[in-house]
């Protein structure tokens, strides 16, 4: 059978073997956690606690009146040590609540209650109160996505189980280890938006997960597991919708335009946790891997844990690290030090060796067109770069700067080692600045 997919894209080496087969592990708690007031797309939160306050794990410590926002919670029980600006994983200064962790943490959220009676409205409330955001990395507030505009009918909810980023396996593990909660979360989402159909899209390199989910579903015909071609970026929202349903979301529009809602595996699991136990988003599974890590594994980490602590818990560095990346290798953020904290949208910590990060110097574009063939959005990345270099941002946009979602396929295939994504970001920033004037 030919697997479903989209047009364009690339086949990087997937390098998932180091962590794909191992059960997710817990790690010890750090001495302190740093909880940024903004971990999502939208308005930042204001702290609702003061320095010196005692906080309980799961207690809300930051909230906002804005519609597009998501509250944050204390991920551990402890004492608020400071409320100050800290560098987050992008290097930006973000107001953060620093909590000194108590030595003993009482167990919580052990009891599960049935979620079958929750109404659509109640499910949205659960998502909002839990501070749930897209845990695949985009970190868009989930309850906003669960509240589509009245004129758009959603008929299908797709769970993104592609995990198309090389190296990462946390979604793969969750599909295997928490299949029931994943299916439960998907059903809640379907109910929240009134969709009849649920689809779990899984890349064909994770057939064990696809089979496990199919087995769990039994005869449930409302949910289907769809295997997809192994290709990056299969899990990008628009690509996934195209691959699974054949519908293409128009430029500048949201998936609701074509009657679809897409959510990540971990988001569905977290929604089910929040609905059944009341547990907000205070921890998540991340993949810690790469040649520069001694013991690559998937770990359950409290939000706010510094990268350095996570790396220590995975045996520390193997050799001299060249690059420490928060997220996957295609879209993640390179860190200048190890102080940034794991946030809700962190999917992994990848450590590349010194010899893996010498890409060769950027040179003049030679017009090979490989970037155009690779672009899943059918843009012309070479021209975006050309005009951005000249400061002609409107021209850059004519070739698609603002439609680019920065998957990095162009830069991956470029024989001239051009960093297209950096130019696209520059063009977007300049275009946004020009619009404000």
């Amino acid at each position: 059978m030919e697997l479903k997919t989209f047009r364009g894209g690339i086949h990087p080496p997937y390098q998932k073997e180091a962590t794909a087969a191992n059960w997710t592990e817990d790690i010890s708690l750090p001495a302190e956690v740093v909880i940024p007031m903004q971990q999502h797309v939208g308005a930042p939160n204001s702290p609702t606690v003061n320095v010196g306050d005692r906080v309980d794990a799961g207690q809300k410590i930051g909230s906002s009146e804005a519609f597009i926002s998501a509250p944050v919670h204390a991920s551990v029980s402890g004492t608020v040590k400071a409320i100050e600006g800290r560098s987050n994983f992008t290097g930006a200064q973000v107001q953060s609540v620093v909590i000194e962790v108590d030595p003993s943490q009482p167990p919580k959220w052990a009891e599960k209650k049935d979620t079958g009676s929750l109404s659509a409205e109640q499910i949205r409330d659960v998502a909002k109160e839990a501070g749930l955001v897209g845990l695949g990395g985009a970190a868009f507030p989930t309850f906003v996505k669960l509240s589509p505009p009245a004129d758009k009918r959603i008929d299908t909810v797709i769970i993104n189980g592609c995990e198309c980023e090389p190296f990462l396996t946390c979604d793969h593990r969750l599909m295997l280890e928490r299949a029931d909660d994943l299916i439960g979360g998907l059903k809640l989402m379907m109910r929240a938006v009134g969709a009849d159909k649920g689809i779990i899209g899984v890349e064909a390199n994770k057939m064990d997960a696809a089979d496990a989910l199919t087995a769990k579903l039994g005869g449930d015909s409302s949910i289907e597991v769809v295997p997809l071609e192994v290709k990056y970026p299969e899990g990008a929202e628009k690509m996934l919708i195209d691959a699974v349903t054949g519908r293409r979301v128009p430029p500048g529009k949201l998936p609701s335009e074509v009657g679809v809602l897409v959510q990540n595996v971990q988001t569905a699991v977290a929604l089910h946790d929040a609905a059944s136990t009341g547990k907000p988003v205070i921890d998540r599974v991340i993949t810690v891997t790469g040649r520069g890590i001694k013991e690559p594994k998937n770990v359950l980490v409290k939000v706010g844990t510094p990268i350095s602590h996570v790396i220590d818990q995975c045996g520390g560095f193997a050799g001299t690290p060249g690059k420490v990346i928060m997220g996957g290798p295609m879209t993640g953020w390179a860190q200048k030090d190890l102080s940034a904290a794991v946030v809700k949208g962190t999917s992994g910590i990848l450590v590349l060796g010194k010899d893996e990060v010498d890409y060769g110097a950027e040179r003049q574009c030679v017009g090979c067109d490989k970037c155009i063939d690779a672009c899943p959005m059918f843009l012309m990345p070479n021209f975006i770069v050309k005009y951005t270099k000249r400061g002609k941002y409107d021209e850059a946009n004519r070739f698609g700067a603002q439609d680019c979602f920065e998957c990095g396929c162009c830069a991956y295939v470029c024989p001239s080692r051009i960093s297209h994504v950096a130019y696209v970001r520059k063009a977007k920033a300049e275009l946004a600045a020009a619009e404000k004037k």
Partner: protein, 315 residues
Amino acid sequence: MANHDLVVTAPPHIKGKDMVSTGMRDVAIALIPLIVMSLVFFRLYALVNLVAAVATALACEYVMRKLMGREPTLGDYSAVVTGLLLALVLPPTVPFWWVMIGVIIAVAIVKELMGGLGVNLFNPALFGFVSLIIISRVFGPIKLGYSLGGINGVTSATPLTFIKGGVLSGLRPGYWNLFLAHGGGALGEVSVLAVLVGAAYLLYKGHITWHIPASIIGTVFVLSAILGENPLYMILAGGVMLGSFFMATDWVTSPDTKLGQVIYGILIGVLIVVIRLYAAPTGAVAYSILIGNAVTPLLNRVLAIKRFGAVKSVT
């Protein structure tokens, strides 16, 4: 924790294997069957010209980049490819110093003075070749001869001679000769099969796509048939195959969109037939591709790709 001197750059943090150097190296590899065939047929003549061309190209690029204060790029194989291609489009009877002049024009003027690989408007090897044709016409003494007879009886007339006229049509080589091996014309015209083997390698490696060669060859075939010429002979004889797969597909000087590439291919195909039939057969492929090169920036400007999910293309 100790400072590890971490590298911080924009994503992606992994890159594909293709570099400009590996791409150009693959083009050189793809030319090996053709080079071998030309050596079999023309022996020392081919060897001297090929070596002179590549050595001159490398030396010329090195000197030019030094003079212009640019980083050396000898390792990217681009000069090697230019040298090889120029030697291949010339007949074996051309003296080696004449080949060297062509290479100097190609590398020093067409490539480096225009700003280096990537900025050049024209295919350097073809521009060098056409310059030689023009110079030979202006300065009579040097005959860029496609003479009948020739080297040790191996060389025969360029098959292109038989396209027009028809008086000699009984002497023209057969299809199988042209396809497998035939000692007329330029070094690179000895064997269509050798060209196709190299082309298959480039297609397999993903460095070229079918769009440009298929549109050129298809157009030449169909248009020749319409105009009452022998279509098979038109595509097998002369430089149509070499030009379509190795020259017109040049990364730098060909259009960037698939639609642009097809239009460019059709344009080149039409020009090849028209120039061959109504002007001079020698150099028809080269002239046509250079005109195609000149139109490329326009094609890149006016043809937009239909965006993902868009109803119609936005320009």
